[in-house]
């Protein structure tokens, strides 16, 4: 005759509960892996597109006056990332009432400057709008292969996250 003690019954329940947790964790892990694979696959194979080839940066009206009043106003990021054939034109626009050194050039009020890039490289420009006195434009090659697209998206995501972290 088989007898079950309270101790062994409790041990069985713990074992069954542990098995359920283990199965749930395994299923969760599988789902996460599948989701990661699907996302990675999409990132690798979906074409990258932009609304425009132009990356637009504007000096808003009143920038000079606000700077003269002591307000620290960043106009351009220290580094701008472009990608050939996708977004490879830097478009600078001075909407202020005074001439501005904007990136690599002196721009009159209301004037814009459109600079296309055709070679992947890192371009350094003197820029008085930056504390460092220098601005970098990094131009990436067009991501042709799935791995290049995946890598491109991962880098862009990394930059996006870094830009939102407190400095």
């Amino acid at each position: 005759m088989r007898t079950t003690s309270a101790f062994s019954w409790g041990r069985d329940r713990t074992a069954r509960s542990g098995a359920r947790v283990s199965r749930a964790a395994r299923a969760g892990a599988l789902c996460a892996c599948a989701a990661a694979l699907l996302t990675a696959g999409w990132s690798a194979f979906a074409p990258i597109r932009f609304d425009s080839r132009e990356a637009l940066f504007e000096i808003p009206r009143g920038t000079f006056a606000r700077r003269m009043a002591g307000e620290p106003l960043p106009i351009l990021p220290d580094e701008i990332h472009l990608t050939l054939e996708l977004q490879d034109v830097l478009l600078l626009r001075n909407l202020d009432e005074v001439p501005q050194i904007f990136g690599p050039t002196l721009m009159m009020p209301g004037q814009s400057f459109r600079l296309p890039f055709r070679q992947a490289a890192s371009y350094q420009f003197a820029c008085t709008a930056h504390a460092s006195g220098q601005m970098t434009i990094s131009v990436d090659a067009h991501p042709e292969t799935p791995w290049a697209r995946l890598s491109w998206r991962a880098r862009a995501l990394g930059r996006w996250i870094r830009s939102r972290l407190p400095s």
Partner: protein, 200 residues
């Protein structure tokens, strides 16, 4: 078994958010017309009057009706200036007879060493049609300011050099500052843009 879940989910979420944020929907736009950076609207190129390497005063007025390519640098420059000037010489060769309507003016940032004679001797090695422009430090500083050109004297062992902007400025036949060509473009790129400006 616990570690892969948050790691996998995190990766999936991160890639998903990033990918969806970075995948807008419209197709590629048309490529830009000029290789150079273009001003819109173009403004009048800042006027100046400097001493020329040919012994004549150099001003934009003197070359009205031609395309003027303005380059800034110094004759002791070890890399950027020789490359730019060789490229410009190649562009003029590529243009053939049309090169007669393209005037390269090389404005020094180093008046202490670059007098008219030295500039003439330096430039003729690239293209006898190139002209140098020099003047007082104050006059040259004003020209640089008007064009947004940066030039900073840098001490070297027993001598000095300049860190300077490497753009070249394209002024059209009517004296409008139309475009800026970044350093590093090939002679054919210059020739391409100069043909467009010559025809416009």
């Amino acid at each position: 078994m616990r570690a892969p879940v948050p790691a996998g989910l995190g990766l999936a979420l991160a890639l998903g958010v990033g990918a969806s944020a970075l995948a807008p929907s419209r197709a590629r736009a048309e490529p830009p017309e000029l290789f150079a950076g273009v001003f819109d609207p173009p403004r009048e190129a800042p006027a100046f009057s400097l001493g020329g390497s040919d012994g004549q005063p150099i001003s934009l007025e003197r070359f009205r009706g031609k395309i003027v390519v303005l380059a800034f640098g110094f004759t002791s420059c070890p890399d950027v200036c020789p490359t730019t000037l060789a490229t410009l010489a190649g562009a003029r060769r590529a243009l053939g007879p049309a090169a007669a309507d393209v005037q390269v003016v090389y404005v020094t940032v180093d008046p202490q060493r670059d007098d008219a004679k030295r500039m003439r001797e330096y430039l003729v090695a690239f293209d006898p049609a190139f002209l140098g422009a020099t003047g007082s430090a104050e006059d040259l500083a004003k020209v640089r300011e008007a064009y947004g050109v940066a030039a900073e004297r840098v001490a070297r062992a027993k001598t000095y050099a300049f860190s300077h902007s490497s753009f070249t400025y394209l002024v059209d036949r009517t004296g409008k500052l139309r475009a800026l060509m970044p350093y590093g473009h090939a002679a054919n790129d210059y020739a391409h843009d100069l043909r467009i400006l010559l025809g416009s």
